[in-house]
């Protein structure tokens, strides 16, 4: 019987410990559930808020493309900020107190868990507390944590999901100006306008057989990737144009030489058609005419042959240095005709025709380069105008420069255009390029006619406005402060503008009080207006 008391006490302690362990185990489970639930809530709440930024950014990008670097920077900052926010907010610590309170609320336990946990955390030797813990264990045995915390999807999840879906859809919208950020696409640092792009494409197409095309492509690429500025690109295009236009001088010489040769050949009736084609600058047609002459050489009369020989000889002598091969062929033809050797003459004329064909090919290349140069000039001018557009003020637009004010409608060369590129068209239509492309001499029409930005010539004239006389406002007297209230200063200390005689007149006691104002008015009226001072007597 004596030994049974400690045993009973041990059993009691073991039971109390089991109760506490059971409650703590339950609260631990609840804590994990609450923590994960709160974490999900926080994560989706943050995402539903944070995803608004990239969606808005993408919407802006659709209407005003954002450069790739800016996109990377903005999204990077956003990602870092969101991550930091998530990390900070998801470090949720749920205490067992909070878990117990949460469980009480969900299971309607009327603070049973909270008080039980407090008594476990603050042990007390009380039978009442033990009974309370036993009862709590019985209540907890009926609870199903999985049912109380089913792990439902938070409301904010739907919003976050919808925003994410919108963001994906916006990136994959099949629009020409849309850049898919998932594929690390973004608007280039500098994007050519459609017109500029057309000009560049056309120039590249015209220059496709030359190194200039690659060089142009490199300039455009560097510009779009932000490696060079717009000014540098303009300078490089200008240099490229100078390089291309160097060949145009040769074309001019060829055309002049052909015209000179045509002048000599037109004296021969047989060679007149060929001369006519040469004077028109059409070397290919001239070659055909020469071949035709060669085929008919056997039936050509003697005098015509002599005439041909003479014209060829003179043309060979007078042909410019740039057409040496042509001169040589004409001399060979002349020699053959002089030797009355029709066979050799025909061969020589065929060679002359071949030389003219080669010349025609050279001319065609030169013409393409010339057109390409024109396209580049337009491109350069367009880039300049676009760069200047942002800086031009409305005042500058309204008050034209003296050159424009003089009635020059178009053709004003850009400040950095190449002076050697030729003279402006100046045809007064205002639609031709102002780049001063070398159209003189070639006579070729421009395939793409892009004019300058039309500017309104406004001249402001000063006009004088005549005023209209009216009745005007009525004079109004404003009551002075001194009339509203009594002055704080003693009247004797007020400096007077009256002379002693006036003072005496006012200070005389025999002067009735009501008439003093009249006397004062009298003296004021007789005061000299110009002097403004006291009256001199």
């Amino acid at each position: 019987m004596v030994g049974s008391l400690p045993n009973r006490s041990k059993r009691k302690n073991r039971g109390a410990m089991a109760d506490k362990d059971f409650i703590i185990g339950l609260l631990e489970r609840v804590r994990r559930r609450v923590r994960s639930e709160q974490r999900f809530k926080v994560i989706y709440a943050i995402l539903s808020g944070a995803l608004i930024f990239p969606v808005l950014l993408k919407l802006i990008d659709l209407f005003s493309p954002i450069k790739g670097l800016a996109v990377v920077v903005l999204l990077g900052i956003w990602a870092v900020a969101t991550t930091v926010w998530l990390i900070r907010r998801t470090r949720i610590q749920v205490s067992l107190d909070q878990a117990a309170e949460n469980l009480d609320r969900l299971a309607h336990l009327q603070d049973q868990m909270k008080t039980a946990w407090w008594f476990i955390d603050h042990p007390q030797s009380s039978e009442w507390v033990d009974v309370h813990l036993q009862r709590t264990v019985r209540s907890a045995g009926t609870l199903k944590v999985e049912t109380l915390y089913p792990g439902s999807i938070p409301k904010t999840f739907h919003r976050a999901f919808a925003l994410m879906a919108v963001f994906v859809i916006l990136n994959f919208l099949p629009l020409s100006e849309n850049h898919n950020w998932f594929f690390l696409q973004g608007a280039p640092p500098f994007q050519l306008s459609r017109t500029d792009q057309a000009l560049a494409d056309r120039a590249k197409k015209l220059l496709e057989k030359s190194d200039a095309a690659k060089e142009l492509e490199k300039i455009i690429g560097d510009l779009e990737h932000g490696k060079i500025s717009s000014d540098a690109a303009q300078q490089q295009i200008s240099d490229l144009r100078q390089q291309i236009d160097g060949g145009n001088l040769e074309l001019s010489n060829i055309l002049d030489g052909l015209a000179s040769i045509a002048n000599q050949l037109e004296h021969s009736s047989a060679l007149a058609p060929a001369a006519e084609a040469m004077s028109a600058g059409n070397a290919a047609e001239a070659a055909e005419e020469i071949r035709s002459v060669g085929e008919n050489l056997g039936v050509t009369p003697e005098d015509v042959l002599r005439e041909m020989q003479k014209s060829m000889s003179q043309a060979a002598v007078n042909s410019p240095a740039s057409l040496q091969e042509l001169s040589k062929r004409m001399q060979e033809t002349s020699d053959s005709l002089k030797n009355n050797d029709p066979e050799a003459g025909k061969v020589a004329l065929d060679k002359l025709a071949e030389s003219l064909d080669k010349l025609a090919q050279r001319m065609k290349d030169q013409q393409q380069q010339s057109q390409a140069s024109k396209q580049l000039a337009d491109l350069q001018n367009s880039l300049h105008q676009e760069a200047a557009a942002g800086e031009e003020s409305a005042e500058a637009q309204q008050s034209p420069s003296p050159a424009e004010g003089a009635g020059k409608e178009s053709g004003a060369p850009s400040p950095n255009s190449n002076p050697s590129a030729g003279t402006p068209s100046g045809n007064g239509q205002g639609s031709k390029s102002s780049s001063g492309s070398n159209t003189s001499g070639s006579g070729l029409p421009a395939e793409l006619s892009l004019g300058d930005t039309t500017k309104l010539d406004v001249q402001l004239k000063m006009e004088g406005l005549k005023g209209q006389a009216g009745k005007g406002g009525q004079p109004q007297d404003f009551e002075e402060a001194s009339k509203q209230e009594r002055s704080a200063m003693d009247y004797r200390n007020v400096p007077s503008q009256l002379n002693p005689a006036q003072k005496d007149a006012l200070n005389q006691n025999r002067l009735p009080r009501e008439q003093r104002e009249i006397v004062k008015y009298y003296f004021e009226e007789i005061r000299p207006r110009s002097a403004g001072g006291p009256i001199k007597q």
């Binding site: 008080t115 039980a116 603050h122 007390q124 009862r135």
Partner: protein, 330 residues
């Protein structure tokens, strides 16, 4: 041992229910008033019943005194009532040998249950005669202090202050009441029952179901119920919220209260909460218990300022605001 506590709790509930049912034989309706009155008895407190005349306040108290086997006395407070009329006084009596003996003649306060009827009709001086008896359970007359028999329970009734010939109870007096209960008009259904019971030849009789020692045991049981610190802190926060211009004060209290509850208010919250917990078969106090007794325990301890009185703010409104705004945990 746990079974003993379970039995103790069960016995408490049975005794409480028995008293309540006996009183309910006479008093129709007012279940919450009856319950709070018994709670105050078991909490070693006193009750102030307020209501217009004729609502059965005195009947309730007299019925309670009949149900419990205790000495009962009634004091009808009138404006000319003197303190000695309550406490008693020394009188000169002639002894057997003809000598003069100064003898203390006990007043009606020397009882277990004292009904102070229409307590606010007496002057504050007379009202204050109850102060010592209510708090220290003693009566001092001259140089002698007499200890009152336990249990000592004062049930005071008062008419609303707006009525003619009433004196407001001093704050110190009010603070000594465990609860202030408002007796409202009975409902139409209850009124019919009242008429049925009171207009016949036979009136309902009650039996005594509780005696003094049992009440003292029940009081011990109440005090044994443990309360966790977070719940106790909640009671403290509620009490502190009644004070104007303190960090925990409620906005309504700041605006309309002149001074808030004394610590006796917090004591009433906790002890009342313990009784309510036992009645709900719980051995711990919850925040719900604190809230349930808050109105009765605090409404007379919250004194309105001029603005509150001018706007006729009911202290229950302030307490409601406090209960709604005070968090259970910080």
């Amino acid at each position: 041992m746990s079974t003993a506590i379970e039995q103790q709790v069960e016995g408490f509930q049975n005794q409480f229910t028995a008293v309540k049912q006996e009183i309910a034989k006479v008093i129709v309706g007012y279940d919450d008033i009856i319950e709070c009155a018994i709670m105050s008895l078991l909490a070693s407190g006193h009750v102030l019943l307020e209501g217009v005349p004729g609502l059965g306040k005195t009947k309730l108290v007299s019925t309670l005194s009949e149900v419990v086997h205790l000495k009962f006395s009634r004091i009808q407070f009138t404006p000319d009532l003197m303190p000695a009329d309550i406490t008693g006084t020394n009188i000169v009596r002639e002894g057997e040998k003809g000598e003069k003996i100064l003898e203390f003649q006990t007043g009606p306060i020397f009882a277990n249950i004292v009904l102070a009827d229409e307590v606010n009709r007496a002057t504050p001086k007379t009202q204050s005669a109850l102060l010592e008896a209510m708090e220290e359970q003693t009566v001092s007359v001259g140089k002698t202090t007499y200890k009152l028999e336990q249990p000592f329970f004062v049930l005071a009734t008062q008419n609303p202050l707006e009525m003619e010939g009433t004196y407001p109870l001093p704050e110190a007096q009010l603070d000594r009441f465990f609860m202030k209960l408002k007796v409202e008009y009975p409902t139409a259904g209850n009124m019919s029952t009242i008429l049925n019971r009171t207009t016949r030849l036979e009136e309902p009789h009650v039996t005594r179901v509780l005696d003094g020692p049992q009440i003292l045991d029940m009081r011990k049981t109440v005090r044994s119920v443990p309360i966790a610190r977070p719940i106790q802190d909640y009671a403290v926060r509620i009490m502190m919220a009644t004070h104007p211009n303190t960090p925990l004060s409620n906005a309504l209290a700041t605006r309309y209260a002149r001074c808030g509850s004394s610590p006796r208010g917090a004591q009433a919250l906790v002890v009342g909460g313990k009784i309510r917990a036992l009645l709900n078969n719980r051995v711990y106090v919850s925040c719900d218990d604190i809230r349930a007794v808050a109105y009765g325990a605090l409404r007379h301890r919250l004194l309105l300022n001029f603005e509150g009185e001018a706007e006729r703010i009911d202290t229950d409104t302030i307490i409601k605001g406090i209960l709604e705004s005070t968090p259970e945990t910080l």
